[in-house]
Symmetry: C2
Subunit: 477 residues, 2 copies
C-alpha cells in the first residue's frame, strides 16, 4: 500500500509526533549504515553459539516460578528482574507502578453427578466470580460453537450450565486463538444474558492433555455475572461423549476465587543507552507476569529471556549503538495489558522518541518471519534488516505487524512496530496451563530467536531518521 | 533350549498337572489343524476393518471412568463388564469375589517453602500413610538414584524429606520401568530405615508433562511407615534446579489418604464355550480396575477392549472353536495383582485344563512380537500361530513370555503362556496419571492388536493336546 493512499485515510490527529515534534534527525526517513551489517552478523553468531537466553528463563522460572499479577510471586519477579538487568550490566534500570484490582484463584472442582458420576478437570477463568456456597449443580446444555450459543434466545438457558465445545485449530501464527478466544472473553456475559447459571468452555488450547487453560474473562455492567471455567480438552471431549448418550447430564461446579481489591505491581525497564541519541529508544517488549498455574517459562519467561539476552549481547559490543535499546518487561499483561497501558500513559509525551518496537510474547522460538508496520519511506532501512535476518532462515513477511499484545498498545500511540514472528505451532499446547514449564523451552530455538531480536534491535538502534509516521489502527469496537 | 535340559532343571513338584491329571487328549503335544488358518485370516480382516475394541474402551472409560479397587467406580465397572459381556453374546458370564483392604486418596499438596516458595505437583503413592495433621515440612535430601539412597547409613536421613531423582528410560518393552519402579515399591521402607520423615520420588514415567504418576507402594512389618508421593517429571526437575542453587531447600508435604478397611470387588469372567472340549480353556486376561486419577482408557481399558473384542469376533464365527475362550477381567490388579491371586486360588484344581493364556495390559497397541513359554514339544502348534500372525507385522520373538502381571500368576501355577507384545514406547507417558484418557487410544492400532489376540485365541482354541508342562519360575525373593 502506497504512502499517499495510507495518509489519505489518516485523520489529522493520527499523524504522529515523529515528524512533527522532534528534531531534524527524526524528520528524515530511517536509514541504517552499511557498516552495521558485519556487527549484526557477529551478534548472530554469538547468539547462536549460546545467547544466554536459556539461562535467563531458567532463572526466572526456577527462582520465581508462578507470578500472577499482585501475588507474592509477582513481587518476587519484579525484584528478580531489577536484579537481573543490573547484574547483566544494563546502563539504567528502573520500575514504574501499575495498579489494578486483584484476583486470586481458589478451589476449582467439577464433577459429573449424573448419569455417570466422575470428576472433570477444570480451571476458573481469570476474574470470574466464585460459585455460591456449595457450588452450582445443573443440567448441561451444549453448543458446538460460540456462535451457536449466541443464537440461543434470551432466558432460554435459565438455570442451566452452558457448555461450549468449540475446538481450536493448531496454526503457526495462532490463527485458531482469535477465533476460539471470544467464548472465553465474552462467553460468560452472553451466557448470563440467556439466563445460564454458569459457563464451561472447552479450553482454548491445542493439546490433548488433561490441563485446563485459564485466561481472563470479561464482564459487563448491567449483565449479571456468572461463574465460568475451562475444561481440559480431554474432559471437554468426555463431556461430549457423556452427552452423546442422550440422557440429561448434570454437573456440579465449585469455584472459590477471591477479589482482594486494589493491587499494585511494576513495569521493569532497563536500558542499553545510545551513544549519540540516548533519548531515542528502540523498544524490546515482553511481559514479566504469568498465570498462576504454571511457572511461566513459555508465557512469557521465554520472551523476557529473548529480549533481555538480545539487549545484553548489544551491551557487550565494543561500543554502544547510536540509539538506546530499551527493554520493557510489562506487568499485568495476562489480566488485560494493564502494564502496557500504564506505560503508554506514563510516556505519552515521549512517543515521538520511541523510534520503533518489537515484542516477544509467543513462545520460545524459532523466529520464522519478519513483518513491519512502518512508513513506506523507511523501507530502505527495513530492507537492511530483512537482509540481515535472512541467514537466520527468517523470511520477509508483509506490512502487517501488530506489535504483539503489549507493544501493540504503543503502536496505537503511534510507535512504528515490527513483528519477529515466533513459531507458535505448539504454543497453545501449554499456554495458560500448569504445563507451562522450562522443559518446553528448547535452548537452540531460543538462541535463534535471540539472534533475530538482537539483529533487529542493533540495526534499528544504529539507524538515523524515522520509521514513522504510521497509520493508527481504528479503535476497537 | 531343549526339553531334556529343561526337565533336568525342574523339581518333581514343578511338573504340572497338564500331562499328569488330564485326559488322553491333553497328554499329546499341541497341534493346530491346517484348516484353522483361513478362518484366522478372516478374523484378522474383520478385526482390521473395525474390531469393536475402540467402542468397548470408549464405553468403559466414558460410562465408568476411574475405577480404583473398592470405589463406587469399581462397582460400576463390575456391573458394566457383566452387562457388556452379556450384551456381546458371551455364552457364560459370572463374577468371583476378591477381597482386600481399601485405600482412598485424599488431598495431596506439596509446596517449596524456601528458598523460592512455589507449589509442586505431587500424587500420593497407593497405600501410603497420611502425613501428620498440618503436613510434614523438612529439608530435602536428594539422591540421584535409588541405589545411591541405599548407600546412605541408617539414621543418616533423620527428619529429612528424601527425594530420589532417578529418571526412567523410554523403551518399547518398558525396560525402564523395572529399573525405576523399585524406588516406588520399596523406597518408603528403605528411606524410613534411614530415618526419613517422608519420601518424594520423581515419577516413574517417561513424559514431560505436569502429571505425577501414582502406583502402589509397599510396607514392611517392623519398619515405621512414612508418607510417600511422586512428583511430576517437570516438578522433579524443578526441584533439582532449586537444589542446584546450593541453598537448603525445604518442602511441605500434605497427604490425607484414608484406609476404609476390608473391601470387596469381583473378577468378571466371560466365556465363548468350546464346541468339543468346553472345559479346556484358553485364557485372555486384562484388568478391569484402574487407578483413580485418569479414566483408565490405556491402563487397562484398552486391554479389556482387546481381549473382549477378540473373543467376540470368535463368538461371531459360524461355529464355536473346539476349546473354550475365557476372558478374565481381573479385579484389583493395580494394588497388587489381588484378583489374579484370587483367581489362581479359586481355580487351582482346574489348572491342568487352562490350556494356554495371554494378557493385554500394556496399552492400546500395536502388537509387534510374539513370545511363548510353552513346552518345546508344542512348537509345531506355535509355528502355526507365528505364521498366522506374520501378515499383521508381528515378528516371532523368543521363549521368554512372562504372561504379563495377572496371567503371569497363572503361569506360576503351571499354565503355559504367550506374550503378544504391545508397543509400549509411549505407554509410560500416561500410565497411572490423570492423563490416561480415551484420546490416547488410536482406533487403528487397537484394531491391529485385537486382530493379533483374536488370531492367537482362535488358533489356540482350535488346538488339540497340551502346550505344557512348563518350567515354573522360581519364587520371588
Amino acid at each position: 500500500m502506497a504512502l499517499s493512499v495510507k495518509l489519505i485515510r489518516l485523520g489529522a490527529a493520527s499523524l504522529v509526533a515523529g515528524t512533527l515534534f522532534s528534531g531534524a534527525a527524526l524528520a528524515e526517513p530511517a536509514r541504517i549504515p552499511e557498516q552495521a551489517l558485519p556487527v549484526a552478523r557477529q551478534l548472530q553468531q554469538k547468539a547462536l553459539a549460546g545467547s544466554g537466553a536459556f539461562q535467563i528463563v531458567e532463572s526466572l522460572s526456577t527462582e520465581v516460578g508462578p507470578r500472577m499479577f499482585g501475588t507474592p510471586g509477582d513481587a518476587a519477579a519484579v525484584a528478580w528482574a531489577v536484579a537481573k538487568l543490573k547484574e547483566l550490566g544494563f546502563d539504567k534500570v528502573w520500575t514504574e507502578p501499575v495498579a489494578y484490582p486483584g484476583w486470586v484463584r481458589g478451589t476449582e472442582r467439577a464433577t459429573v453427578t449424573a448419569p455417570f458420576p466422575q470428576p472433570l478437570h477444570v480451571t476458573a477463568l481469570g476474574y470470574t466470580l466464585p460459585t455460591p456456597p456449595g457450588g452450582v449443580e445443573a443440567e448441561i446444555v451444549r453448543f458446538a460453537s460460540y456462535e451457536d450459543m449466541l443464537d440461543a434466545a434470551p432466558d432460554s438457558l435459565a438455570g442451566k450450565i452452558v457448555f461450549i465445545a468449540q475446538p481450536m485449530v493448531r496454526h503457526i501464527e495462532g490463527l485458531g486463538y482469535g477465533h476460539a478466544v471470544a467464548m472465553r472473553g465474552d462467553g460468560p456475559i452472553e451466557a448470563a444474558k440467556r439466563g445460564a447459571a454458569a459457563l464451561l468452555i472447552r479450553s482454548v488450547g491445542t493439546d490433548h492433555h488433561r490441563f485446563p487453560h485459564t485466561g481472563v474473562t470479561e464482564h459487563d455492567e448491567g449483565v449479571p455475572r456468572i461463574p465460568a471455567a475451562a475444561l481440559s480438552v480431554p474432559d471437554a471431549e468426555q463431556l461430549e461423549r457423556l452427552l452423546a448418550r442422550g440422557k440429561p447430564v448434570t454437573v456440579k461446579l465449585e469455584l472459590t476465587p477471591e477479589f482482594p481489591g486494589p493491587t499494585q505491581s511494576f513495569n521493569v525497564i532497563g536500558e542499553v543507552r545510545g551513544r549519540e541519541a540516548p533519548e531515542e529508544v528502540v523498544v524490546l517488549g515482553a511481559h514479566l507476569d504469568s498465570w498462576d498455574l504454571g511457572t511461566g517459562a513459555v508465557d512469557d519467561g521465554a520472551g523476557v529471556a529473548i529480549v533481555t539476552a538480545a539487549a545484553k549481547l548489544i551491551r557487550d559490543l565494543p561500543q554502544r549503538p547510536r540509539r538506546t535499546v530499551r527493554v520493557v518487561l510489562f506487568a499485568a499483561e495476562e489480566i488485560g495489558l494493564v502494564g502496557a497501558k500504564a506505560y503508554a500513559e506514563a510516556h505519552k509525551g515521549e512517543m515521538a522518541r520511541h523510534v520503533i518496537g518489537v515484542e516477544a510474547d509467543f513462545g520460545a522460538g524459532p523466529v520464522y518471519a519478519f513483518n513491519s508496520t512502518a512508513n513506506p519511506a523507511a523501507d530502505e532501512a527495513l530492507k537492511v534488516i530483512r537482509r540481515a535476518l535472512s541467514p537466520l532462515n527468517v523470511v520477509p513477511g508483509g506490512e502487517k505487524a501488530s506489535g504483539g499484545p503489549d507493544v501493540g498498545i504503543l503502536r496505537r500511540a503511534g510507535m512504528p512496530v515490527v513483528d519477529l514472528e515466533l513459531d507458535g505451532t505448539d504454543y497453545f499446547d501449554v499456554h495458560h496451563t500448569a504445563d507451562d514449564t522450562l522443559d518446553k523451552v528448547d535452548p537452540k530455538k531460543i538462541d535463534q530467536a535471540t539472534a533475530a531480536f538482537a539483529t533487529f534491535a542493533y540495526l534499528a538502534a544504529e539507524s538515523t531518521g524515522s520509521f514513522g509516521p504510521i497509520e493508527i489502527p481504528p479503535a476497537k469496537q
